[in-house]
Amino acid sequence: MLHLYALADHPVRLPPVQGIGGSALVAVEVEGIDAVLSSSPTTAHEATQEEILAHAAVVEKLASVNEAVLPARLSRPYENEIALSEAIRNRGPELRKALDRVRGCTEMGVRVIRESRSEHPDAVSGGEYMRGRLQEIRAAERVAEEIHDAVHAISRAETQQVLASPQLVLSAAYLLPRSEVDSLRTAVEKVGRTRPELTFICTGPWPPYSFALVDGSVGEQA
């Protein structure tokens, strides 16, 4: 069984790290795309902390020495090289487009967190509750828009999720040139200073996990 870590431009540079369970990394080329693999010691359908961290470590090292890397989601291992090659061949054009998109770029995460939710007293009417809820959503959307406006000029693509949980006002990811990481942090801090009631957190730089999707769900900027 084979474990897939990432796809990259051929020829990929393999960093001197080991894969899951101390396995050796190998690259297999399929029509100009290199798949970075190792043998997989397990066929289990559950991921362990060790596997997650080992997978993430390989992807991060790959992204640090290659211009275009598409991190693979940790998934079930592939039967053999033939099954994997076929899967890559079937999605060749989409994968090449995704590689072009992330080339030279890195991903930054932005989270906006609200310390405590404004409590709705039990006595309020349904109408008042709905109005309050609507106000919360609109306020969160305004924050999302402010962040978007602040980083639009430097980001190539973004994903934004508003109010995924009552405290999580915004969860966003931005794809941007590696040289712009500090600019993003500065831009987010600047928005944060105008909203002391919220906590703004930047994470990353990450390998471009959020922009490796090939189903067209990534919001690309013109």
């Binding site: 362990t48 997650i52 993430a56 991190p71 989601r73 079937n90 994470t203 996990y209």
Partner: protein, 53 residues
């Protein structure tokens, strides 16, 4: 915060070639800790940590 972001990316983002469903996580503690990190602000987190030590 970084841990939950990492787990979220590795398990839910990234390219899939076969449309496989997301794996479950064997280590429940990891998810629990991650969820706590996700929802907690830095101040809340420090408080939680001091309560648990």
């Amino acid at each position: 915060m970084t841990l939950i972001e990492l787990v979220d990316r590795v398990l839910n983002k990234g390219v899939t070639l076969t449309g496989d469903i997301t794996l479950s996580v064997a280590d429940v503690d990891l998810v629990y800790v991650g969820l706590r990190l996700l929802l907690a602000s830095v101040g809340t987190l420090e408080r939680l940590e001091s309560e648990h030590t």
